[in-house]
Each structure stands twice: as structure tokens, then as C-alpha cells.
Symmetry: C2
Subunit: 238 residues, 2 copies
Amino acid sequence: MPDDHTKSAEKHCVAPNRPMTCDLCDVRERSICADLNPREFAHVEKTMARRHVAKNKALMAEGEPNESLYIVVDGSFRLSKMLEDGRRQVTGFLFRGDFIGVRSTQSSAYTAEALEDSIVCFFPHRYLDEIAIDSPGVKDRLIARGQTEYHKAQDHIVLLGKKTAEERVLSFIEVIDKTIGADEGAQTRAVPFPMPRQDVADYLGLRLETLSRTLAALKQDGRILELQRRFVVIPKPK
Amino acid sequence: MPDDHTKSAEKHCVAPNRPMTCDLCDVRERSICADLNPREFAHVEKTMARRHVAKNKALMAEGEPNESLYIVVDGSFRLSKMLEDGRRQVTGFLFRGDFIGVRSTQSSAYTAEALEDSIVCFFPHRYLDEIAIDSPGVKDRLIARGQTEYHKAQDHIVLLGKKTAEERVLSFIEVIDKTIGADEGAQTRAVPFPMPRQDVADYLGLRLETLSRTLAALKQDGRILELQRRFVVIPKPK
DNA sequence: CGAGTATTTGAAGATCATCAACTGTCGTGG
DNA sequence: CCACGACAGTTGATGATCTTCAAATACTCG
């Protein structure tokens, strides 16, 4: 099923519709590519492929096998797990430069769905193993990335296990700000929410209504300056 | 500070007090050692060292640098993170065969403390890197382990984000059972709790009192057959 | 413009937390 | 070996936070 890397890039002007060369890749410096020497890189450039993932489409589904490493080149994803009775926990979000599928698995531990029309670059693990023979740095990078993800998961655990609703919401805004926030004037930051409220609630372990009320209260007392559906504006942190 | 690997093994008869040979190592098959060929293995056996960690002593502390990979040979550990105001979240437990310190870090993301007098085998990362040059399988093993930890963390996230107190307690018993539980007669399982109630509560994101009440209720309705301080007996799962 | 979805707001209720007292267990020393 | 003190764990009563159910409002897309 995965072979639509020739589709048009739609509204994402950052990403052309043809297999553009890695030289122009936005996330190259942040991805495993940074570890490769020129010869290896040429190899990667041949085996690498791109794929568009339409909004709300799954790149990977819980329980399905997965063969490739994906790097988010543009757009964003929601990672989630389901309980048998349908309760859903969002375990994380992916933005440009993030990886999924660090290892080939029989059965994916979670589902990854696009929050918006997105583009990923992917490497089948069998090629990756070949590359790694000459470039051991690649595996180090995967180990490092695995650790980063693990640490994020631990922060998430602390959030869910110990924080109040208000703290959760503030932590969430902070994390997103650090990842994709931008200055908006000298004193404020604009923090985009590429995901709907329900996803945020499911990430924070809160009900939709509680999230909504908490955001409203933060707006009330000025810790959120502007509250919109798809972004908030906050005072620049210290 | 870490060089007391000659101390006596105290009450743990499984682990002699002298740097015993890896041939007799209980967890050898489950650890990275399983990936080594005889020559590499000889090298490991030379660089490897053991260390005792007394009950409640930290093997690794949040914020402190860490240079080594540790493998739990005997005993068990609690992993935890602190919030600035002192709230503590237990993020996991380690048992025989488990690893910590998969990567050398400036500042450890969590604290690891012994739940009982324990023994670890450790490899400084600089030696590990040498070994990995000839045995790429070692790194694959580390990647795999990192993934396993990550998946456990995700299950923990689901537990904290979506489950009720009762479900949390049952899930906890189930996880511990799978890890260190044992048959106790034909119909029942004995599940040890090497950690105090407070640790369990901090792992489950519940208050001590709630945990206690929930356990009592499960005992009440027969889903726990015997409830002791340091273990429970449950009916054998399906 | 209108249907369907996303988000907000309101009121009532449940689960879990808090505060407090009590009981059981372990280890130490007389 | 028993007694005592300290800590671990349990139980009870009350309360807060967050959830649930319900309905209104805002937004998006065809």
C-alpha cells in the first residue's frame, strides 16, 4: 500500500512533489543523514523515498507490522494507543525531524496518524542495516533517538501521574512551544496547536471539557493572552 | 564513588562475592552478552565488573552524569523522577536481566534505587563502544532494549492517562506477575511486591490510601486470594 | 447558507484525595 | 526473649477536582 510518493504536495509549498534531492531536505541536519559520509549518503539518496500522508490517514497502525523507519519531513503526527473498550490515549506528537519506526516490528505498538497533510521520508530497515555496516554512527543515532523518546515518555508519565489539570495544560503548552512555537513580537510567543482539542485532552489524560475550562481559566487570569482554536499566544517564558 | 565490587553478597546466595565468571551468570542469556562471540566475550569478561548496591542506595541519580551500562544480575530497582516541589513519580521497576544507562549521559533523567540489596554488572560505555566495533549485534541489542523500554513506558502512559484506580492496580499485578510471578499450586500465582506500598502508589499515580483500599476491595471480592505486605496471591490468569 | 463537527459553558455527581486515627510489623536493645 | 519505638499499612469521614450529562455556540466545508 505505501507507494504514493509521486502525489502532489498539495498546500505544503515547502515540499515539492517530486523526489527532491536530499540536499534540500529541511530536516537533514537533524536526522540520521547527518551521520553519513558522502558515499554512504549517495546510497541513502538512492534507497530513500518520500511519501505523502493525508490528514487523518495512518502512517502506521497499532498491531500492524512495520518495516521502515520514517522521518517527518513536513507536517505532524499523533501517536496513540487504544484500550480494548475504545478508550484512546494519545502518547505523543511528532513534528518535523522526528522519527518513527526505529525498529522493524511484527506488530506496531501504536498508531501514527497525520494531523495535517504531511510528508515523510522512509528507509526500509533492510536497507538501513546495510548502510549501518559502513556507518556505525547511524545506529548510535538510533540509540540516541530512542533515549530521547524514552525521556519524553517519562516526562509524560510524570505529567499524567502527578500533575493537576492546570499544570498539565501549562506543561503541554510549554512543550509545544519549545518544539514548534515562534516569537510573536518581543514579549510573546505564538504556540500552534495542529491538533484538535480532543487529541490534546487524550494526551493530557483529561476530558475535553476539563481541558476547555482550564484553557478558559488560563485566558481569564492572563497566563494565556490569546486563545484560538488552533493556537495560543502566551507571554514569553522568563 | 563506584568501586565496591568486592563487598560481600550478604544474604543473596545466588550471587557470590567474588567477580564470578560470566559462565555462571544468571542473566547472561538475556543480556547483551548473548550477542558476543567467544573472543569478544573474553574481552567483556575482562572489562566487566560487578557491584553491590545496598537496599535504598542509588545506583544512578537524577541529574548526575552516568558513564556505564548496568545490567541487574540480582535484586530489583525503582526508577523515579522528582518534580521541583518534591512530588515523586515512580516511572518503573527493574528486575533481573533489565538494563539501565543504555547511553552515556551528562545528566541522568531519573534516579535508580535498590529495592533490596542488589547486584549489577556494569560496562563503562567507552569499553562498550570498543566491543561494538567488532560486534555490531551489541548495538542492535541496545536499540531493541530501548524500544522495549519505550513500549513499557507507553503502556504506563495508557495506564495513567485512561485507567481507573482498580484497573491500574490489576494492571500492575499483571505486569509484575509476568515479570517475577510464580506458580503457586495448580490454580494460583504468587506475585511478589519487592517494593513498599508507597512506591506502588507513586507508580500508579494514586495515593497510598487509595491503593490500600483498592487492594482491600479486590481481596474482598476474590480477585486477590491472599493479600500480604510483600506479595499477593491471585487466581491463575485464564 | 446549512449540516455536521468542534468547542465552550453549565449543573450535578463520582472518584479519588486529604486529613486523621488506628493497627500491624520489624528491628533493636534491655 | 520480650518490649518498645518507629515506620508501614489500613480504615474512616469529609471534601475537592475532575467527570458526566446536557445544551448552547462557533466554526468549517461543501
